[in-house]
Symmetry: C2
Subunit: 276 residues, 2 copies
């Protein structure tokens, strides 16, 4: 690696790395398209996603003793991307806690123009997850992880769902938030209209659904609609949804939304012939 490429940071107040200051308190995600990616696995996922055109890398901030092990990843960066390097005390002072992983990237997303064009770009046979009001970062990360594991083509998010690019959501997704393409749009009604208008069967999960999941026969395009636990969906949306039942033992609380997503995606992707 060309050592001249490394920019040494000795002052935690250096404006060139200002985006990483007090990382835990002020998450960039949800305020524009910039976000912070943390750790080697996530940096690798970000490089892969950049090569598919969904993301760019703006800059890196690395712990100095991690640089050697990251030479291959650094070599994949555009030469114009600044690579900052700091000693542990400086890095910890920047981010505001002991940053053992020592690998930080500032990423920027190139979002799709709108949901209709996002859906139009998917294959004729497609499996999509649609999130309504998923505001918990853990659940969002788990939903993306499951979407990745079962090969979903994309995720649609309504405006009340949180960004999948929050640090914790990316981490819980094991990088799938950078792998599975997604599109954030407006109300759940508009999202449902765009999905149904693009030829998808929109299915919703309920313990009292009319079709048992194991009996559901998916057509070419399927979108799995997820609502917040407990809260219901608007009637105008429910009227457009094929209501699918995951059978449960009587009496106890219902499934966690991420687990329900995993069960439904496994079954539907299998029934579509998409799993090996």
């Amino acid at each position: 690696m060309d050592a001249a490429r490394l920019i040494r940071i000795d002052d935690p107040g250096d404006p060139r790395i200002a985006e990483f200051v007090s990382m835990r308190e002020r998450d960039l995600a949800g305020r524009g398209e910039q976000f912070i990616a943390e750790g080697t696995v996530v940096l690798q996922a970000l490089l892969d996603a950049r090569e598919r055109g969904h993301f760019d890398i703006v800059k890196l901030l690395l712990l100095e003793n991690r640089v050697g092990g990251l030479a291959d990843l650094i070599a994949r960066l555009d030469p114009a991307v600044p690579v900052h390097v700091a000693a542990a005390p400086v890095l910890d002072a920047v981010v505001g806690f002991a940053m053992h992983r020592g690998v930080l990237a500032l990423g920027v997303r190139r979002p799709p123009a709108d949901l209709a064009s996002f859906l139009a770009g998917l294959p004729d046979q497609a499996l999509v997850v649609a999130c309504c009001g998923i505001s918990n970062h853990d659940n969002m990360g788990s939903i993306f992880r499951n979407a990745g594991v079962f090969g979903a083509d994309g995720v649609a998010l309504d405006a009340t769902s949180c960004s999948p690019l929050y640090r914790k959501a990316i981490r819980v997704s094991v990088g799938a938030a950078l792998h599975v393409p997604f599109c954030r749009s407006g109300s759940v009604e508009a999202m449902a209209s765009a999905i149904v208008g693009s030829g998808f069967d929109l299915i919703g999960l309920s313990p009292r659904g009319t079709v048992a999941l194991e009996d559901y026969r998916p057509p070419g395009r399927v979108a799995l609609l997820l609502g917040t636990e407990g809260a219901g969906l608007p009637q105008a949306v429910l009227d457009r949804v094929t209501s699918v039942r995951i059978a449960q033992a009587p009496g106890l609380d219902s499934l966690n939304v991420a687990t329900a997503t995993g069960i439904a995606l496994w079954r539907v992707a299998g029934a579509m012939g998409r799993l090996p």
Copy 2:
């Protein structure tokens, strides 16, 4: 309610409520059979579990303004169980943080004598979850939640798995850690021997398993063995396991253990005719 039953606490150092001091730092679970149950839903689950003989309630500590709404639950307690009441500043000083829920119970578990007798007490047709090295409290809570939702008869835990009675595990389980009976025992080898010796088909999940989950035909007694993510099981155990495959899209990281549990329990419980 008989107001004379309430024991007013004004001193956070009162020895009668010592078990609740600095609750977040020193979790009682894992050090004997006592544990702290938190919140109305969990207290209700604990009362139900007590009536099935698995637990006792030792004492309560309640925020004073919560007492009125809990009259029905308090009426279900044995008259000998002390009910302590404190104002918010006292309660917060006891537990060490702002305790908005204001409902705490000290519970004690009556564990089964050993795994063999625990398994012998289950029905001829039985579905069990067996955990090996599940040390993350979130995963443990989610596994119990799924065991409850899909009506598993019990959970076996090896000595390296964490207690399901940690506060966070109980909370994530939505009370199922108090509902689904469990037995902690020794090594995973001993656990597997007891399970197989009790007539169970022991199944393990792997993306490279030899039997596809959708093709698995369960016999009368099935135990689903869960290992830690990444780490493998000892060969002596693997030799006793029916290796079952949850198909996944190629290339990405594998499923979270709790999600995998949900998928497998849903499918196996359904194939056993145990779900409505």
